[in-house]
């Protein structure tokens, strides 16, 4: 009875996991089929011939090199600046003592309740006002601050013993060098989580880059990919190949840093 139930559990899980993984497998499978083979119905399960050159064709069908460069720059800088602003604010809230701390903290917390649909149009106008359309600044800065990241780092800094900062101060170490040489190295695991999250968000972000870029040379991979799919003439094997290389960097990241991804995304909740 017990083993029977267990076997049933594994069976249910396997069916569910196959259903979840299927689109990814199908994406890989279809990406190497010829255009002719992709028009077979019912489709062939295993590609009859492998057309790996689909990847090169997809890459060259749109300026994907430029899109990757843009997304790489935007995601890396977003991650870097987000980690910086969050570490500084987390240090202030977690370690330092100052008048008005709880009031300022409440003000920061209020940002969690600002609905993203309301900020879209005003932020678009702000970017227009600053004449920042089609710039990296427009793509990066609105995502370079995040209350969840600040909360994570505040917790990390609060976890450090208070005596550490006091001892450092008695030894003549300034607050800045304490932060740089002692505090930040000790909260490094959390810095990694925040940076990963920032990178992931920026890489996958779609609506904001769509709205603030009109110039093809400033598009990110997601916007580029969406334009590619909306162009009805592109064949499905090429679309699948393009989808493959757009998700590949993130999936590699995910497989390497699984634990950090799962825990950090789960703690920051549903967004995007």
């Amino acid at each position: 009875m017990k083993t029977g139930l267990r076997a049933l559990g594994y069976l249910a899980l396997t069916v569910a996991v196959l259903a979840v993984a299927f689109p990814f497998l199908w994406m890989l499978d279809s990406s190497v089929k010829s255009q002719l083979e992709a028009t077979l119905f019912p489709p062939s399960v295993w590609p009859q011939q492998w057309h790996v050159e689909n990847y090169a064709a997809a890459w060259n069908a749109a300026p994907f090199g430029r899109y990757f460069l843009n997304s790489g720059i935007v995601s890396a800088l977003t991650a870097l600046i987000l980690t910086g602003t969050s570490a500084l604010a987390g240090y202030a809230f977690g370690t330092l003592r100052f008048r008005g701390r709880s009031t300022v903290f409440a003000l920061f917390l209020a940002s969690l309740f600002v609905p993203p649909e309301v900020t879209l149009i005003p932020n678009f106008l702000t970017i227009n006002f600053l004449r920042w359309q089609n710039t990296y600044a427009a793509l990066i800065l609105p995502n370079a601050v995040g209350m969840f990241s600040i909360l994570l780092l505040r917790q990390a800094f609060r976890g450090l013993p208070r005596e550490l900062a006091e001892a450092a101060s008695l030894d003549g170490c300034s607050r800045w060098s304490y932060l740089w040489r002692i505090g930040l190295p000790l909260v490094k695991p959390m810095l990694t989580v925040v940076a990963l999250l920032g990178f992931l968000r920026a890489w996958n972000d779609f609506l904001w880059p769509l709205v603030v870029t009109s110039d093809e040379s400033m598009r990110t991979v997601q916007v580029g990919l969406s334009v590619f799919v909306l162009d009805a003439s592109v064949q499905y094997p090429l679309l699948m190949a393009a989808a493959c290389f757009v998700v590949a960097p993130i999936l590699v990241f995910y497989l390497v840093a699984q634990r950090q991804f799962v825990t950090s995304l789960a703690t920051t909740g549903l967004k995007g």
Binding site: L13, E117, T119, L230, L270
Partner: protein
């Protein structure tokens, strides 16, 4: 804070004096400035500015104050009403399924001793990939002529469906079979919108599983064992111990997933847009509120009207969240708040 220092312990007082002398306060505010500036410009100011925008006429640039005209226009906008109905379908067709499947799979996964990490890895995968890329893959899987989904149905002898291209309501065949003639609104969501719901559940399932697993891990082992020793069956343990102790997790996920479903954009947009302008196809049956706002904003450049709509949608979401707290929160079992 300043006058009460007389009653504070001398040690703390000297600490504070040292701190203030060495500019701890100044440093703290210096640390907060970068984050605060960005929050002010891109989070706080936009809320006020959205209200301002919604009270004016816009055509790329401001065209003058129009009072509440944009809000009055919403009242007579049947298309927006339709978009709201479709949004409600979408929320009701995704959130309960995400919760039920997430909870069920987490319960099984919690009992599994071998390979649980591997299953979790795969379940969570959609959530880390980009909505745009997976939407493209799903468009191919659900393709009406050549899609893998139809091939799968074919194996079971079911005839092909048109999925994302099907504007008729899913209840329509039922009415036809019964020989009833009912108005369009009673036909339910279109098959296209149902397809979008399936993809959405697929996308968010992993997150629900992971959070339910965290909730299950937090239940003390002794509690289950005590119930077992008292003679409760597996079903009874589930019904009277596990589910009640999971209510905080369920409530959290319900609130967050409802908000998320109302705000969902990228996945729906890429699944349902054809060409560069046909958003929410077919026949606008997948045009949910966020897409409708986007259409007014980005295609029509009616910024004032779109700003008013965005604010209204946000208020609706807020009202629903408040309602969820008012109606459901007292049924949530918080262990610590009991004593």
């Amino acid at each position: 804070m300043s006058v009460s220092s007389a009653v504070e312990a001398p040690v703390r007082r000297s600490n504070r004096r040292i701190a203030l002398v060495r500019g701890e306060e100044r440093d703290a505010y210096l640390c907060l400035i970068p984050a605060l500036v960005l929050l002010a410009v891109f989070q706080y100011w936009p809320v006020l500015y959205d209200v301002y925008v919604s009270l004016h006429q816009w055509k790329v640039v401001e065209q003058g104050y129009v009072g509440l005209a944009n809000y009055q226009r919403i009242l007579g906008d049947a298309d927006f009403g339709q978009a709201l109905i479709q949004t409600v379908y979408y929320v009701l067709g995704t959130v309960p399924f995400e919760l039920a499947l997430g909870c069920g799979i987490a319960l099984i996964l919690f009992e599994v001793k071998h390979g649980a990490w591997f299953y979790r890895l795969l379940f969570f995968m959609p959530y880390v990939t980009s909505p745009v890329a997976v939407a493209i893959v799903w468009r191919w899987v659900l393709n009406g002529d050549l899609g893998a989904a139809n091939a799968l149905l074919g194996i079971f002898g079911i005839k092909s469906l048109t999925w994302l291209d099907e504007p008729t309501g899913i209840l329509n065949p039922l009415y036809t079979a019964l020989g009833l003639k009912l108005p369009d609104w009673a036909a339910g969501p279109s098959l296209a919108l149902v397809s979008v719901m399936i993809v959405t559940v697929w996308f968010y399932l992993g997150l629900h599983i992971v959070i339910y697993l965290a909730g299950l891990t937090a239940i003390p082992r002794e509690v289950r064992e005590a119930a077992r020793i008292d003679g409760a069956s597996s079903i009874q343990v589930l019904r009277y111990v596990i589910f009640p102790l999971l209510t905080p997790t369920t409530f959290f996920l319900l609130v967050v997933a409802t908000i998320g479903a109302f705000q969902s954009f990228s996945l729906i947009y890429v699944l349902t847009t054809n060409g560069s302008s046909d958003i929410g196809s077919p026949l606008g049956t997948t045009l949910v509120a966020t897409l409708y706002v986007f259409e007014r904003f980005y295609q029509d450049l009616q910024l004032g009207y779109a700003a008013a709509l965005a604010l209204l949608v946000a208020l609706i979401v807020l009202a629903i969240t408040v309602l969820q707290f008012a109606v459901l929160e007292r049924r949530v079992y918080y262990e610590t708040s009991n004593e």
